[in-house]
């Protein structure tokens, strides 16, 4: 069973603001899911390579060049979506102390 402090820690890592009541709810639910997942420990995986992707393709590359025209048209639309912006930039709160 997860402790409340553990759930708090996970929520903080995941950047999810949870109320006291929610912490308790998720503590129970996450614990029961993790208990179920425990069954993976029964599988002998020694000598088995991990699979991250079902396709056997890797390192897809393209020419190192931009699509300037399309990008400038798109960037205007995309910038419009930001809730806070200034002089063509997305604005965020200060992250370093002065």
């Amino acid at each position: 069973m997860l402790t409340k402090a553990e759930v708090q820690h996970i929520a903080k890592l995941a950047r999810l603001g949870l109320s006291e009541k929610e912490l308790e709810k998720y503590r129970k639910e996450l614990s029961s899911i993790l208990d179920y997942i425990e069954k993976l420990k029964e599988v002998d995986v020694s000598g088995t390579e991990p699979t991250s992707h079902p396709l056997k393709v890797e390192n897809i590359t393209r020419k190192d060049g931009g699509k300037t025209e399309a990008r400038s048209a798109n960037s205007k639309i995309l910038l419009e979506m930001a809730p806070d912006k200034k002089e063509g930039y997305v604005k965020v709160k200060q992250i370093l102390n002065q």
Partner: protein
């Protein structure tokens, strides 16, 4: 026969013969939506004006006897986690409630080029996380066969829309069964293509090593038409590939071998469902197919591995919803407060659960025990399939161990909801194509047979499905 019952091919034929116009077709579906969407709630948004405009354009071409593209004038619906320029795209989440798609997903672009008439966007479990469409922030979709029951999920809106005759076909996405389960529950045909067969550019990312887009339609032939229109390599999705040409024109059901996994008919399956599936298998046997028992020994572990891999990838993909670039943004004193409030407020319960499970599985000290182990089990699941497919052309099993359940029945027990996916998730772990085909009913509730194929053998499983459709009426 009413216009809303027609398949894609029938609509196409009628348009060519000028039995009806594209606008008439479009209007009859819109009328049906107006009458019944309140009850079924398959559509989150109906794009009436845009659809009628497009239909008019197609009629213009037809009246001038110009050649029209393949799907010209045929209406469709798009799951609301795929971008269609100018239309909202919510992913069933409050965090994207006011988000307007700035461009077209590749599948949407292709369908527009083929002349498709987009009727609107369909409901889904929030960010496609769920098996019932109850997790939508905007309310649950209801099963047209019995509105007290769920349509399955997460593409419940798309499957219900086809079943309720709101459209002849719709796009769904499938990460762990999200096309097949609702197709089974709603009695329609759904195809989950091979991983990489269809571009996912413009699909809101959920679990990137599992996600795949596919069609939900009224017939196998319609699924084929749509799949052939949207498949193929796309430079905008580096995981997409060209489908190798497979020469199986000589395929015949009486020379085929069908595998039945012995692990799939043991515990937990509803005996009524089992009966319908077994009788479908028997029918194939009568046509001369050889039924072979195969073994997928890691079946039990596939679901557990899936519920590590899926939330892990989801937790990384959903990190982008931070209240800074787009979507919901809650104000806070410092940047961290903006994140906590925006994400705490914007995400629903199941999405938060998965983000937390994923964050936990990927966090320092747990990565090897959970994520890496799950990836190794994934390898073993793939090997099981490879071994089974040495002996057989396709594998048959149920799509779901249970019938469509009542709305609210599993809502308070997330784990019991996960168990519904037991027959579908291993297909995603292995990246295989699979078809959900309606093969019978238990009272008024439909049951789907799952036909799993080798990678890129969509055509073969479609042909196998078609045999049933053409030989028996259910």
């Amino acid at each position: 026969m009413s216009l809303t019952e027609l398949t894609i091919s029938q609509i196409k034929e009628g348009l060519e013969k000028k039995d009806f116009s594209a606008q008439e077709i479009c209007r009859s579906f819109l009328k049906k939506i107006k009458e019944k969407n309140k009850e079924v709630f398959a559509f989150l948004k109906v794009a009436e004006e845009e659809a009628l405009l497009k239909a008019k354009e197609v009629d213009g071409l037809i009246s001038k006897n110009r050649e029209v593209p393949l799907l010209a004038g045929v209406p469709l619906a798009v799951k609301d986690n795929m971008l269609a320029e100018g239309l909202g795209c919510t992913a069933g989440s409050k965090i994207l409630e006011n988000y307007i798609a700035p461009y077209d997903a590749t599948v949407v672009k292709k369908i527009k080029e083929a002349g498709g008439v987009i009727l609107g966007k369909t409901n889904l479990d929030e960010f496609a996380m769920g098996s019932s469409t109850e997790n939508s922030a905007f309310g649950p979709t209801r099963n047209p066969h019995d509105v007290s029951r769920v349509p399955g999920g997460s593409s419940g809106g798309s499957a219900a829309a086809v079943a309720a005759e709101f459209c002849p076909y719709a796009f769904g996405s499938d990460t762990g069964g999200s096309i097949r389960l609702p197709s089974s529950f709603c009695g329609v045909v759904g195809l989950k293509p091979t991983y990489g067969a269809v571009s996912r550019y413009g699909l809101i990312a959920f679990a990137s090593s599992l996600d795949q887009i596919g069609p939900i339609a009224r017939s196998v032939e319609d699924c084929r038409i749509v799949f052939n229109t949207i498949k193929g390599k796309d430079p905008l999705d580096s995981t997409s590939v060209e489908i190798p040409e497979i020469r199986n024109s000589k395929f015949e059901i009486r020379n085929s071998k069908i595998g039945i996994p012995k692990e799939y008919f043991v515990k937990g399956i509803d005996p009524e469902v089992e009966k319908v599936i077994k009788s479908a298998v028997k029918k194939y046997e009568e046509l001369g197919a050889e039924i072979v028992e195969v073994s997928l020994p890691h079946t039990d572990y596939a679901l557990a591995a899936y519920y590590i891999i899926n939330p892990s990838e989801a937790s990384a993909n959903l990190a982008r919803y931070d209240g800074i670039k787009y979507g919901l943004s809650m104000d806070g004193k410092e940047l961290i407060d903006v994140y906590l409030k925006t994400r705490g407020e914007g995400f629903g319960a199941e999405v938060r659960r998965r983000i937390m499970i994923g964050t936990y599985a990927l966090s320092a000290g747990y990565y090897e025990a959970y994520y890496l182990r799950a990836q190794k089990v994934r390898t073993q699941v793939i090997k099981d399939f490879e071994k089974a497919f040495q002996k057989v052309d396709a594998i048959f099993c149920p799509v779901s161990p249970v019938l469509p359940f009542k709305i609210g029945e599993k809502a308070d027990d997330p784990l019991s909801m996960y168990l519904v996916d037991v027959y579908t998730v291993s297909v995603n772990l292995a990246g295989l194509p699979a078809l959900s085909l309606p093969v019978g009913f238990v009272k008024e509730l439909p049951v789907g047979l799952q036909i799993i194929g080798k990678p890129f053998e969509e055509e073969k499983i479609l042909q196998i499905g078609e045999v049933f459709e053409k030989t028996w009426k259910i």
